[in-house]
């Protein structure tokens, strides 16, 4: 068994407790070991980051990929907005995404001669989050003071789409050209269901609240991401769109950079790799029969990572989230909305949150995302009064603590969790790169289950997932070979 992998360190932020309050990490317990993803699935692709000279490799990959991208539409006097999202900064500690943004700027400047290149970085529900990243990664200086965090409550503009009027953020579109800088991390598969994943920011971090509310209330659990396609396909956005460049992700880290003038072609490629790589890890996590979950990562509750997968996905791992025949995942905002005031689902076939999660030890995770659903449905112990107070005062988490108990220390929380659940299986969502920090007992279970999961995904689930999304992998390969 391997010794534990380093968890991502706490990050100073207005959305989390001061790192000084994080006294102990879950990975420090002697019963914890690391299971490497490559032990489980040796076929996962090689990564360029983390690794030796990782950032240089990211930069080189950006230069190489952008060689084939047409930028002839951008004149030397034109303005260009490089549009980014907060999610990118939660991958690999944030530096690779910052490097992607810097390198895109350099290549545009080189190829087109324009110096009027700005960064517009959108957010989720923490309106100053990208302002924090812009500062900590030196993006403001790099973009000559032209880097700006944008939020969904900022001034908007109407965008006429094929389904009606939707609204984008004015400062995303206030340039002659826009460049979409993203990543292929599967992340919120409960929301987008791996349909048009690469397009999603057009309905989220680049969009007004009016549009984001459309996504989460108006179009249904499997129609939601059409909001993004409608906006992206609009004449207005098409008249400004230059190209996309993304960090290509796998659960192991960054496998490369992909760029294209055709966002839908790129989207098809990442749909395939996302289903194939993340699909296996998620399916494997669905095999866990019982466990204690540790939250220990600088992100809001649903977004803490283990094995490249977010906690919200584990809450839904009792259901195949990629399978579009399943209408409602155990957790998504539609699902949450459809529990009545007595706590009963209005749709009686609603699957419950993953019953394998016996208790959650919330050692370190941020506020700034409505998370009461999690503590209401799963027994939760929050470590430390400071963290409890942070949640009590957060307008998005007014009742998170109503459903949680508080432990003075991590030791007390873990002792309670072991006693209360009777299980010794523990999985920690702490962002460890390359593997997952788990207890010995869980290590054994994952090891035993992985080969069958691999076969099931490769032979049965993967072809089904692609078929549901209208993708024929052979045709896609042919098309890609032609382009390259």
């Amino acid at each position: 068994m391997n010794k534990v992998l380093n968890p991502i360190p706490p990050r100073r932020s207005q959305y989390g407790v001061d790192p000084g309050f994080v006294k102990k990490r879950m990975a420090e317990y002697p019963e914890m070991k690391a299971i490497y993803l490559r032990e489980l699935f040796p076929e996962l692709p090689q990564v360029i980051f983390p690794g030796e000279n990782g950032l240089d490799k990211v930069r080189q990959a950006v230069h190489k990929e952008l060689e084939k991208v047409d930028m002839s539409m951008i004149g030397p006097e034109d303005s260009v907005n490089i549009c980014a999202s907060h999610h990118g900064f939660t991958l690999g500690g944030g530096e690779p995404y910052a490097e992607l943004l810097k390198a895109i700027k350099d290549v545009i400047e080189e190829k087109t001669g324009t110096k009027n290149i700005r960064l517009r970085a959108g957010v989720g529900l923490r309106f100053r989050e990208t302002e924090e990243y812009i500062k900590s990664f030196g993006l403001d200086e790099y973009f000559d003071g032209q880097a700006k965090g944008v939020a969904p409550v900022d001034e908007g503009i109407p965008i006429e789409t094929e389904i009606g009027t939707l609204y984008g953020l004015k400062s995303i579109y206030d340039a002659d050209w826009i460049v979409h800088a993203h990543n292929s991390d599967v992340r919120e598969v409960h929301f987008h269901r791996q349909v048009d994943r690469a397009v999603k920011p057009f309905a989220m971090s680049y969009a007004r609240i009016d549009t984001r509310s459309t996504y989460h209330h108006n179009l249904g659990p499997r129609g939601a991401n059409f909001t993004a396609r409608a906006i992206f396909s609009s004449d207005f956005v098409q008249s400004k769109f230059a190209f996309t460049a993304i960090l290509e992700m796998s659960p192991l880290g960054i496998i490369g950079v992909d760029a294209d003038n055709d966002l839908y072609s790129l989207n098809d490629r990442i749909t395939v790799s996302g289903c194939q790589n993340y699909g296996k890890v998620m399916t494997l996590l669905g095999e866990i029969d019982e466990c204690i979950v540790g939250l220990d990562f600088p992100c809001p509750v649903p977004y803490v990572f283990a094995g490249g997968v977010i906690y919200a996905n584990f809450v839904g791992a009792n259901v195949d989230l990629f399978d579009l025949d399943n209408p409602l995942p155990p957790y998504t905002w539609y699902t949450e909305a459809f529990y009545d005031s007595k706590g009963k689902p209005l749709f009686k076939e609603t699957p419950p949150p993953n019953p394998a999660i016996k208790m959650v030890v919330h050692n370190y995770a941020w506020a700034g995302y409505p998370s009461a659903f999690f503590s209401e449905h799963i027994p939760t112990i929050v470590v430390g009064e400071e963290q409890a107070n942070l949640f009590r005062e957060d307008p998005q988490n007014l009742s998170y603590m109503k459903h949680s108990v508080i432990a003075e220390s991590l030791d007390a929380a873990m002792a309670f969790a072991y006693r209360g659940t009777g299980t010794d299986k523990v999985i920690v969502f702490d962002g460890a790169a390359g593997g997952i920090n788990v207890s010995k007992s869980l290590y054994e279970l994952l090891k035993v289950k992985a080969p069958e999961v691999k076969t099931r995904v490769d032979e049965k689930l993967f072809p089904k997932w692609l078929k549901q999304r209208g993708i024929n992998p052979e045709e896609l390969n042919k098309k890609n070979e032609k382009c390259r």
């Binding site: 529900l125 309106f127 100053r128 939020a151 969904p152 409550v153 900022d154 001034e155 908007g156 109407p158 389904i163 009027t165 939707l166 609204y167 269901r193 791996q194 349909v195 048009d196 007004r208 609240i209 009016d210 984001r212 509310s213 459309t214 989460h216 209330h217 108006n218 179009l219 249904g220 659990p221 499997r222 129609g223 059409f226 396609r229 579009l324 209408p327 409602l328 905002w333 909305a337 459809f338 529990y339 009545d340 005031s341 009963k344 209005l346 749709f347 009686k348 409505p370 009461a372 659903f373 009590r392 005062e393 307008p395 998005q396 988490n397 007014l398 009742s399 549901q468 999304r469 209208g470």
Partner: protein
């Protein structure tokens, strides 16, 4: 229902009177008077929007001496009326309209029936849109429309308008994209089933 424990406080020296806070406050609690932002003590429901967007970082959230709750009891209004409006909006009275404040659709409709004729007034009465401030504007606009109310837009950019719903998707679009993973008809069936579920659920006979 919204428990209000905090209030926005403006640092007068830091405020440059740019009006951004006024334009984004969901309860219209901010007003710039003589070049400085002023908070309305009763109307501020501590959503944090202004504190999060003030370009000068001149606003902080401080504890109120006396926390209070805003809530509209749906029992005050005719249940049949709530059901009628919800049915028109294709929503279930029991479903959540706002996750952060756990405000249900029936409470929003009750507020409308008691005179809230704009999203801002609904927010003032129920607390909806004072949590994450992002996801709940459409339920408010759809329910107002179902009550035959055309709300007036405030001067700021609190909201722009009611956007399309899944029922607005044309057959042509459905045909074009249903093979690409968009299950519009199946989702319509699901949402309508949930919208109807209310009466049956209350009578104890699940569909």
């Amino acid at each position: 229902m919204r428990l209000v424990k905090m209030i926005a406080q403006v640092d007068m020296d830091g405020c440059i009177g740019c009006k951004i806070c006024e334009r984004i406050c969901p309860t219209l609690a901010m007003e710039v008077v003589e070049g400085k932002a002023k908070v309305n003590f009763e109307l501020c429901l501590s959503c944090g929007n202004c504190q999060q967007r003030c370009p000068e970082e001149a606003i902080k959230m401080v504890k109120r001496e006396k926390p209070f709750t805003v809530f509209v009891d749906p029992e005050q209004v005719d249940k049949k009326e709530i059901e009628r409006i919800c049915a028109r909006a294709k929503m279930n009275p029991e479903q959540l309209a706002c996750y952060c404040t756990e405000t249900r659709v029936k409470e929003v409709v009750a507020a409308i029936l008691l005179g809230a004729d704009t999203p801002e007034k609904i927010s003032q009465k129920t607390g909806i849109r004072t949590g994450c401030k992002v996801e709940c504007i459409q339920p408010a606009l759809r329910l107002l429309e179902a009550a035959d109310i055309k709300p007036e837009r405030p001067e700021g950019y609190q909201w722009y308008g009611r956007t399309p719903t899944i029922w607005d998707i044309t057959d042509e679009i459905k045909e074009l994209y249903s093979g690409r993973g968009f299950y519009f008809d199946a989702d319509i069936e699901l949402l309508e089933k949930i919208a109807r579920q209310k009466e049956n659920h209350e009578e104890g006979k699940n569909e």
